[in-house]
Subunit: 613 residues, 2 copies
């Protein structure tokens, strides 16, 4: 219906290289033996190559994919172009950037890998679910499988010949995974008959690969109730013969696909295992009843991946809204607002539009920095473990602590950014032509799957915060404190550093409050405030990271000529830092005050008082 | 795919009667001559009758309507069942509750009318757009039309025989309505030839009525640029002969319909007027170049109606999420969280779910109270004008002041509530079966149409706040002050009344800040902070109204037996008040602190610094 600019995938690679090389010092890591085959040039080539792929192959299929999958003759048919894109992705090798060279991968640092993920998810979240889940399944087999299992499955999963899934949820077991009823029965040959129904299985069936390797949580007969009685099974859609060739169908029957708010190109399946009594699974590795722990190993990676999906979609929404704001002319400048014949200006000139744009910019860059920080800790842990164990433990502790933040704050902010992007376009944001509303619909799932954001918040306050006597949190607080102390007199940011310091005090104070609740037996106050605390802590870390970027940019500006493109880039980094510090960061202290009120009204209200219907 | 409870329209009529008769004293109004034909019993019968209609007729078509409209042979075909519902609505007469008896209506108080609107919009927003817009068009003709025009159009619009629309937006003129290019050329017979293209016309074409009366903003040849040169025309789809019979087609050609994020049952049309040079319009009334003022008369009503759409959809989302939370069993009680064999409980038992439910409850009741307060002022104005002019002016002033709040805060909170409703259901909230995600998609448009929420904020700070030397705002602040003074020692709410007082100071302080910007020539700071101020002020008013409800409920409880259903209802009202006062209201002061920082980063950042792409 319109002649306005169409949505097209975009990413700001300059921010990527800033994060990697100017803020998180990837250059130092590339000196290590582990990443010795990687140069700065290699990293940049991979990112620009993958960006080109995302713009040309996956990006143009994003709107197409929104039409959804179909079930034809009991099988999932993916949207037009998906199969070709899957094959091109295999050939291009972008899925393998982070995979160990042992399995044909490129062994890139995690910090690079997350940005590759951003490009793939940002350009087409629904499509990227298929290879993403397969990769996650492969990682679990790599960690826990027997040598035979690795050999049988990994080369073909990591190469993209086969797909893969994670099968946890059941109709009666969503967040409460331990309530799973899928059964495994020992067979004389050492394998297991699997029977049960799994729902919400992303990529549970599709037409892009010859086989799909399902990892299925099931309870072996006689095992304990709850999560402790669950074992993990490798259950291929088509059985695999000993020589690696494909055997008969393994009785994994598609029950249907869900119709959803978004990510419609990703088939969300109901799978019936052993409906005809003929579904065989192999135990993952050699130990029964450790399925939940094995799955959890993957869960951390999957949760980080969801945060990255958020970064990718939010960034794409922001950059497209920005382009629209630069091209769409509407109304006169505020200087001439009373003059009806004044020239129309691009809407980027209107103050409220600028506010929305900068708000999106700061949040997108903030959650991206959060994710890359986490990945950098992961890389340092991998380099240091077995050599400098204390330092390695510090880094791994930050990975643990930041994972729920990346997942929950990343996903919540993504939805907020997409909502703002719609508002920036106005009516054009609400209609499908511009593709902005799709970002919003796609992004809502991020706060739900791989553990709802409340589960993340409980993971933070109930597990991560208390680990090793609170060491990880203390380390983080101390890192913020060092930054504050170093830059308290900073010529450009001293006022904002004060705000950061106040936020740091608020987070420390709130953490003490939680400790008091745990120790004083007021456990019920914990879940009531967990989400708020996760948000406070995320805002503290993002505020810190953006201010660190501002400080780096401020210093770099001194040696950057005015006419160099980096000049406006660095000024933009300073603007993000300032905006976030003055419009979001003060809220950390405000939230602490709310926590201190200890309102327990949601607990004391009667069920019957919620409504008379 | 599921066996879980399906979404079904619900409303809490007890809250309606509480608002009307316990908080806003409708009983007093019914003593007046104007509403003398209405008794309390009549009001309750209308609301329960309309509720029954909403549950049986429009509610069940909500999901059906989401499939969208089709264009067949150049005409809009509405979703299955819409035409029957339109006819049933005509017969039932619910559209006429607020219409003047002169045109066959029931002349109900506005406070009753808005609740009827809530039921119709809440059960099926998309469907209710058609009669809603027709009603709005009728209101304009009632205000500004000549006697002949009223006679020709009104009986048939108000009866539902014909539809009606408002045609403002053009491809190059969205928020900047004054840029409209649609032309009107005087004809010898005193009428005008109309030519131009209008977009985003809700109900611009449909198959439910014999004719559609379009109200079209157009510029008469030679008229001034901008809004001052626009005139309003009555342009029926089918011409109307002098005897009232239908004549030939009036060259209003459907250009197409938009595909949207939501409200898919409402056809959003492109209309080409006079494509074949044969479109004739009549000037509204007898005065040229006053079209914008005439349209604005309607705009206030339309903006309030959008706020009500927000209330309706948010309430339906909340009550359905509540039902799900009562029925869905998942996980053990927090008291037994380590015991895998503990019985599963309904998720309403989980603290974070209770938090989300109470959050939705408080916000829904808050925006409903805001809307009914506005309508009550309108009713008192209508009763008092010409009798006690000073009091009447006070009430009309509050109508002016509250209109942008009802529209913008109502719509923003509605989206927030719908988002929370999705989260309450988890994965089930994201799939279409439960109908919750549709509420979220439908509600996003509320922040955009009838003037984006930033336009509302500018209307508040740029017009309403300064009217009559700031009198309306001062009156509001003074009303809050009286409430604070009266209840400062309240046995249940004294602490929360303090928070309210602090919020009142913050709003007063922020208003002074704006005045300073206006007077000091820092105009650019105004749009940058307008949305934030609108939110602060809305939270102040909602916090006040909910606390007033809490005080009323506290008093009523003293004389309500424990086993009376009102007992839990009143406790629920107290819980909403307490929750909002302790979790939302403190944010008003926090926002004032942000305003005081006077951050202007969005203005100082270079366009080029937003991104390198």
């Amino acid at each position: 219906m319109s002649t306005q600019p169409q949505n097209r995938y975009k990413a700001d690679l300059r921010d990527f290289s800033f994060l990697l090389f100017e803020q998180f010092k990837l250059g130092e890591l590339l000196q290590s033996e582990r990443y010795s085959s990687w140069s700065e040039q290699d990293v940049k080539m991979v990112l620009s190559g993958c960006y080109e792929f995302a713009c040309k192959v996956t990006g143009p299929l994003n709107a197409v994919g929104d039409q959804g999958c179909q079930v034809i003759d009991g099988k999932v048919k993916t949207p037009p172009g998906f199969k070709e894109a899957w094959n091109k992705l295999r050939e291009a090798g972008w899925r393998n950037v982070g995979v160990s060279p042992e399995y044909g991968g490129q062994g890139a640092p995690a910090a690079v890998q997350v940005l590759v993920e951003e490009l793939l998810s940002g350009s087409n979240t629904a499509f990227n679910m298929y290879p993403g889940l397969a990769y996650g399944a492969g990682e679990i087999i790599e960690h826990f499988g027997t040598p035979e299992q690795k050999q049988r499955y990994l080369p073909r999963i990591f190469s993209g010949e086969w797909g893969g899934t994670m099968c946890l949820t059941e109709p009666h077991a969503g967040t409460d995974v331990g309530a799973a009823r899928t059964r495994a029965t020992r067979r004389p040959d050492g394998r297991y008959n699997i029977s049960g129904t799994k729902i919400y299985i992303s990529g549970g069936d599709h037409d892009m690969a010859d086989n799909i390797v399902h990892l299925v949580l099931a309870r072996i007969e006689g095992a304990a109730p709850g999560t402790k009685g669950l074992s993990l099974f490798i259950v291929p859609k088509i059985r695999v013969n000993d020589d690696g060739s494909l055997g008969p169908f393994n009785d994994v029957v598609l029950g249907g696909i869900e119709h959803k708010m978004g990510i419609n190109g990703s088939a969300t399946c109901v799978l019936n295992f052993g409906e005809n009594g003929d579904c065989i699974g192999e135990l993952m590795g050699t130990t029964e009843h450790v399925g939940m722990a094995q799955m959890f190993q993957m869960m951390n990676g999957a949760r980080i991946a969801v945060g990255i999906q958020g970064v990718g979609v939010a960034s794409a929404a922001y950059l497209n809204a920005l382009q629209y704001a630069k091209e769409r002319k509407q109304g006169p400048s505020i200087q001439n607002w009373k003059d009806a014949s004044a020239p129309k200006v691009a809407i980027i000139e209107h103050p409220d539009v600028r506010r929305m744009l900068l708000d999106m910019k700061a949040r997108v860059e903030g959650i991206r920095a959060l994710a890359v920080k986490l990945a950098s800790h992961r890389d340092r842990f991998l380099i240091l473990r077995g050599k400098e164990d204390e330092k390695a433990a510090y880094h791994q502790g930050q990975v643990e602590l930041l994972t729920p933040l990346v997942k929950a704050y990343g996903s919540d902010q993504a939805f907020r950014v997409c909502e703002t992007a719609i508002q920036t376009l106005g009516g054009a944001g609400y209609i499908k032509d511009y593709g902005i509303e799709q970002y919003c619909r796609d992004s809502k799932i991020f706060s739900i799957y791989e553990g709802t954001n409340h589960i993340q918040a409980m993971d933070l306050v109930g597990r991560k915060m208390g680990m090793q006597g609170g060491m990880h949190l203390m380390n983080l607080i101390s890192d913020v404190g060092k930054f504050v102390a170093t830059h308290t007199e900073h010529p450009a940011f001293s006022k904002d550093i004060q705000t950061l310091s106040r936020a740091q005090e608020a987070v420390s104070g709130a953490a003490m409050k939680f400790m008091g609740w745990f120790q004083g037996g007021r456990m019920v106050m914990v879940p009531l405030n967990a989400n708020r605390f996760l948000e406070m802590m995320s805002e503290l870390v993002v505020g810190w990271l953006l201010l660190e970027q501002g400080v780096i940019a401020h210093q770099a500006l001194a040696s950057t000529p005015q006419d160099h493109p980096d000049h406006t880039f660095y000024q933009g980094k300073m603007a993000s830092a300032r905006y976030y510090a003055r419009n979001v960061l003060p809220g950390v202290h405000a939230k602490w005050e709310l926590i201190n009120l200890e309102d327990d009204t949601p607990l004391t209200i009667d069920d019957a008082s919620f409504a008379t219907v």
